[in-house]
């Protein structure tokens, strides 16, 4: 069922115009019809009285002398009027004196004259009119008229009306289809522009300005908004790039002094470590662990800011091969942890193969790292959802508190104290960066039976 609100504006305008036309036409037709019926009845009554008067006047003498034949002859003059069902003349005592029966319909005269005047019944009109001679009433004439003519007229009128309405609607449809265009076209153009902007996220698009009316104002405002958004997006992109550049350069250049500190601390330990007392050894360990951790963090920050630095490739990627490469890179960790890895065949995706391998590698590495007491078991599966592929990496590890969800993907975010699990807290941030650069989404859910499932979406590669 199509709702009126869902109709395109062109159709709605046409519909409104046609509905208005129809209502106006119908009201006009109904009024005309009522007028027509009233007028017809009035003239019918007038005619019937004219005939009654005519016959009454001519039959004065015959009625006074009781000449029935003469009256019948006079009544026969009504033959000319097809609608007359019949007529009856009553004498002064109110007894039927003479009858005329028309050809068309059954004549059902009343046995006694009724009050003068006319009355309508369903079948017809009945007129009673006095016959007088020298101001003395000598009888009554009754004429019964069939209303078939009127009904016929009403039918004809209805037929013509329907034809008029149909022709008008057709004409209205054709005209409104053409005439509503100046109103609907700018709105449709505006809607098209808005849709394109939303779909492609291309803020360089502008809606065509047509006219200076309210829609023109709306179009101008829309375009102005796009100009603002475009400028903001460009600014945001520039500032993001600057920030990324800063992070990259900072990380890159910080490596050097940290390397100096780490290396010389190590060297110092070798040369003079034997002279340290217990406390100095401890202090020294703190310093060198700190330097080492700083080095690791800087290196992983550099890795993070390097994602997509050499451009993002967008080509079909054999996801199964990518999983294979990621597991190959991790084979030592898999072996060491005694993990089992189950793989289901995955649909091909579009993206940067190196980044996708790294994404999978980070997730599997986390699954191995955050293990429970049981040997780790990792399951990699995927399914098609719309035009996307949703890939799930499930583990039986220690699980994640849902409350930690929001900070989980942040840079340098660790949920455990230093030393409890190795790592710098950059793996999931990298995953998020990779997935988002691919226009996808990454999230996690608790695994049924313990552990965590990490899920992400990538675009599905078209079939070759």
């Amino acid at each position: 069922m199509i709702r009126l609100d869902d109709l395109p504006i062109r159709r709605r305008l046409t519909l409104v115009i046609l509905a208005t036309c129809s209502v106006v036409l119908l009201v006009a037709i109904v009024l005309l019809a009522i007028f027509e019926i009233v007028d017809y009845r009035r003239s019918l009554v007038r005619d019937a009285f004219v005939w009654a008067d005519l016959i009454g006047t001519n039959s004065q003498a015959a009625l006074a002398f009781g000449d029935k034949d003469a009256v019948v002859t006079l009544l026969k003059a009504l033959r000319a009027e097809e609608s007359v069902e019949g007529a009856r003349v009553y004498d002064a005592a109110g007894e039927p004196f003479a009858d005329y029966v028309g050809a068309a319909s059954p004549f059902t005269p009343s046995p006694r004259p009724e009050a003068d005047g006319h009355r309508f019944s369903r079948s017809g009109l009945e007129v009673f009119s006095p016959v007088t001679l020298d101001d003395k009433r000598i009888g009554t004439i009754a004429i019964q008229v069939d209303l078939g003519g009127m009904y016929q007229r009403v039918w004809l009128f209805s037929g013509v009306s329907i034809a008029v309405v149909l022709v008008s609607l057709l004409l209205g449809f054709v005209l409104s289809t053409h005439l509503q265009r100046p109103i609907s076209a700018p709105i449709v153009a505006l809607a098209d522009a808005a849709r394109t902007v939303a779909e492609r996220r291309d803020y360089t698009i502008r809606a065509p300005a047509l006219g200076r009316n309210e829609i023109g104002v709306l179009t101008d405002a829309f375009n102005h908004m796009l100009v603002t958004i475009e400028a903001r997006a460009a600014e945001l992109q520039r500032s993001n790039q600057e920030l990324e550049q800063f992070a990259y350069v900072a990380a890159h250049d910080l490596q050097e002094p940290v390397r100096m500190i780490s290396s010389y601390l190590q060297l110092l330990e070798r040369r003079v470590g034997t002279h340290f007392d217990e406390r100095s050894r401890q202090y020294f360990a703190y310093a060198s662990n700190g330097a080492d951790r700083m080095g690791e963090m800087i290196r992983s920050l550099l890795d993070y800011s390097r994602i997509g630095r050499d451009g993002d490739r967008r080509e079909p990627v054999d996801t199964d091969k990518a999983v294979g490469a990621a597991l190959e890179n991790l084979h030592l960790e898999v072996q060491r942890s005694g993990a089992t890895v189950s793989r289901r065949p995955l649909p091909r995706v579009v993206g940067d193969e190196t980044q996708i391998v790294r994404l999978l590698q980070n997730l599997v590495s986390n699954a191995l790292k955050f293990r429970g007491t049981a040997p780790p078991h990792v399951t990699i599966s995927g399914r098609r959802v719309g035009g996307s592929v949703e890939i799930a990496v499930a583990d039986n590890g220690i699980g994640i508190n849902p409350q930690d969800g929001s900070k989980l993907f942040a840079l340098f975010q660790r949920l455990h104290r230093v030393g409890a699990y190795p790592g710098t807290g950059i793996g999931l941030a990298s995953c998020k960066k990779i997935v988002e650069r691919h226009g996808g989404r990454i999230w996690f859910e608790p695994n049924q039976g313990g552990g965590t499932v990490f899920l992400f979406t990538l675009s599905e590669a078209p079939d070759v």
Binding site: H252, Q255, R259, Y264
Partner: protein, 135 residues
């Protein structure tokens, strides 16, 4: 004097020069270290070498980012000298740009090493000079 092979270390950071020298010393490979603190000085050191020393000189460990004359420029200069055209050069740098590595190898560097972040790793790394020192 001695006939031990000469290794020329070119690096603007004295800390690095010391570190690399120490690491080479710790490998116990018989060699002698000569230092220069930028490309210009390295050119001068090479040009001032006696013919005997030139024959002993077997390897250059070259940093890239240096003031006055960069490692890249020094390498380009070196490959144009008849006497040093075939002198092995190992780039030892903290730059990890893949483009830089490709450029240096194209300029005639024999290897490209990323400076290891800790001393023990560096020590293991510099053992790799051995194969360049055999005459």
């Amino acid at each position: 004097m001695s006939d031990r092979p000469l290794v020329l270390i070119v690096d603007d950071n004295p800390g690095d020069v010391d570190l690399i020298s120490l690491a080479l010393e710790d490998t116990a490979i018989p060699l002698e270290v000569v230092c220069a603190y930028d490309g210009k000085e390295a050119v001068r050191v090479l040009e001032a070498m006696s013919p005997v020393d030139r024959r002993r000189c077997r390897l250059v460990l070259l940093d890239l980012n240096m003031p006055r004359m960069s490692g890249r420029d020094f390498l380009a200069w070196l490959r144009q000298q008849a006497a040093f055209k075939h002198l092995p050069v190992i780039i030892l740098t903290s730059s990890t740009l893949p483009a830089e590595k490709a450029e240096c190898l194209a300029l005639g560097a024999n290897d490209y090493w990323f400076k290891e972040p800790k001393y023990d790793l560096l020590q293991r790394q510099v053992v790799g000079v051995r194969r360049y020192l055999v005459a």
